[in-house]
């Protein structure tokens, strides 16, 4: 009941007003004090104070019990959007897994589910799975489907600005499909779609290893190689959503044929596809990325060597990107990142060796593993919604 009133109050906030700015900032950042809102928006503290009291009366904004302790001075009261103001959903369409998560507007994650699917799965299957889990979860937890403010969808593939999957490298049956329209049959709320690496970068930016660092590069190493470039706090998408395709830079024009149609792409050398084959052959049983890392951690020389070999090419890739972008930070993602220092250590060496800017001159480039390697894209899908909440109000 009260929920409905809050949602109506939110809907009546006009775009561009102070209230809308405050709601937007809180949606993007989760929770903060009034003074922080004032600094972030550039508004006067007095203006924020007045608007916040109104937003508190309409129950759109709530005071969170917890106080903030930073430096000297009176601590501010932590403000956040009312968790009851609405829910948002994140979906990740991976190569062999579909992930699903529900969160509220004050950045609380309520539930996360995973579904294994066969490789090269059908769109219909994904839709069915997502529809079922959505309906069942909302019913079981007494949530109204109308409370959904938006759904973010992360896809393992290049997504154009319109929501169309450009090429079907990992999801062949999805090529050319408009994912937004596809899922509009499931969610009666705005749907935002983006590439998995872009989503992963968003998650690391908002809650992870890049919090407060508006310039960095996400570098994903898994069965594919890809990434995202964050500049000025925003992901660079490119004209057709094709930015950050690090894996498909050709490093050898006479090299093997890649699934993208070019020769000698970085992905052929820096992904873990071939190492898995080699390890499976040597160990005479199927080896996965996870088991290969486990082997390496127990000291298996072959697995360690495979990781180091891939790290060499990964480091070359970082050097290439670093020479072009020169970011202060690289975040390594993808399942390979779970091998930690086994990967990072040789990768840092390769990076230094091949990069123009050496650690001695100027600011050093740090290379770290992401905070959410296993579900970064999924969390980023939620971030997609939270970041665009302002735009969604007007719709």
């Amino acid at each position: 009941m009260a929920v409905h009133r809050i949602r109506r109050a939110m809907a009546t906030i006009e775009a561009g007003t102070v209230a809308a700015q405050i709601v937007g900032v809180l949606s993007r950042h989760g929770g903060m004090s009034g003074a922080q809102i004032a600094r972030l928006t550039g508004l006067a503290r007095s203006t924020v104070s007045i608007a916040v009291t109104q937003l508190k009366q309409s129950r759109v904004v709530v005071e969170v019990e917890r106080m903030m302790l930073e430096g000297a001075g009176r601590p501010g009261t932590l403000l956040a959007l009312n968790p009851q103001a609405g829910t948002c959903i994140g979906v990740h369409l991976g190569d062999t897994e579909i992930q699903f998560v529900v969160a509220d507007m004050s950045h609380n994650f309520i539930a996360e589910k995973r579904f294994a699917v066969g490789i090269d799965y059908e769109p219909e299957q994904a839709l069915r799975i997502v529809k079922t889990v959505f309906e069942e979860f909302y019913k079981a937890n007494g949530l109204s489907q109308q409370s959904l403010l938006g759904a973010g969808i992360s896809v393992s593939g290049p997504v154009g600005r319109n929501g169309v999957l450009q090429r079907g490298g990992i999801l062949p049956k999805w090529a050319g499909l408009n994912i937004r329209t596809l899922f509009s049959s499931v969610f009666v709320a705005p749907i935002l779609v983006d590439n998995e690496s872009n989503c992963a970068a968003l998650a690391e930016l908002k809650w992870g290893a890049a919090r407060g660092i508006p310039e960095f590069v996400m570098f994903k190493m898994d069965v594919g190689v890809g990434g995202a470039i964050v500049n000025n706090g925003a992901v660079i998408t490119g004209v057709s959503g094709g930015a950050g395709e690090f894996g498909h830079v050709s490093i050898n024009p006479e090299g093997e044929l890649c699934r993208c149609g070019n020769r000698g792409c970085l992905e052929l050398y820096a992904s873990f596809v071939k190492p898995i084959e080699q390890l499976s052959r040597v160990h005479r049983k199927p080896i996965t990325i996870e088991s290969a890392i486990a082997l390496a951690e127990t000291g298996d020389a072959g697995a360690i060597r495979m990781i180091a070999d891939v790290a060499e090419y990964g480091g070359r890739g970082l050097a290439m990107v670093g020479t072009i972008i020169n970011p202060p930070l690289f975040i390594i993602g993808g399942r390979l990142a779970m091998s930690g220092e086994l990967l990072l250590s040789p990768m840092r060496k390769a990076f230094e060796r091949h990069s123009l800017i050496k650690p001695q001159d100027g600011a050093p480039t740090s290379i770290v593993v992401g905070k959410f390697t296993e579900n970064d894209s999924l969390l980023g899908a939620v971030a997609l919604v939270l970041d665009n909440q302002q735009a969604l109000i007007s719709t």
Copy 2:
């Protein structure tokens, strides 16, 4: 006399006010109507109108005679900063040439001079040349040195955010020097320093081939290879000013040693250094970039082939950058760009061949020659000042 009054009026404009916003927009864009200012700043037309009448009274802003003709509707009156409000200077420190230009605040270029200098010239020599031409020109044209609002300096080398030349590839004797402090003995005004490619990109963005296109990549091919990435209307600088060093991406880890200390850098293949040597040997006389292009234009097969060979590697470089950034536009700069289609045509082919995103899928990437190839960096040095005029007021 009146000049002094205008300058005082400008200095009293407080940062953040509507007047400051208007002056900033006019400084950045040259001239525009009040309605355009309103749209760009997000202010109401009425607010702009009131502020502009005041600025006109204080003679900071003037009405330019010329009217604007665009579409339907009443044409607006063109507003611009008073040319007498101040001057700004651009300096380009090239490999064998120092360029100098004077402009006023309404984007009129008053004079441009060039001085040939020996390769690997001394900082003292450059300072002497710039000081002399500055003093003499201002004296000869009855300009007060105090009218100088700012000086922009473009340098052939990587410039850190503090104004220090990081590495002395082209200007060995300047390595590690703070160029801003160096020139503070010449100019008693704010000094802004940046890399030549970044400056070139700024010039093309403001007045040239990228006008109105906030996302593009500048790709310079000369005796070195470099560039700049423009995202969201601003140049990406990188942590230590090292972004856009396309020439020093290694495309062959076993290749020849490069002057940067790495092996097989793109610059070794895509710059015109080796072609010049080969052409000189074949023609048994010293050939320059200019004369090589002239030869190619008269049909000399060797010169045409040299350009095509370099274009192949240039195209590979574009493909590499395109796969990472995916910009809608590449602007080719550097003296090699003066060969026009002789370079562009094979380069476009190589780009398509090596790039992930093919013209059929999605938005095509256009590759064009810049508008100011001979003096883009110099003009960009002035753009540096005009773009930061707002920040300079408060200083």
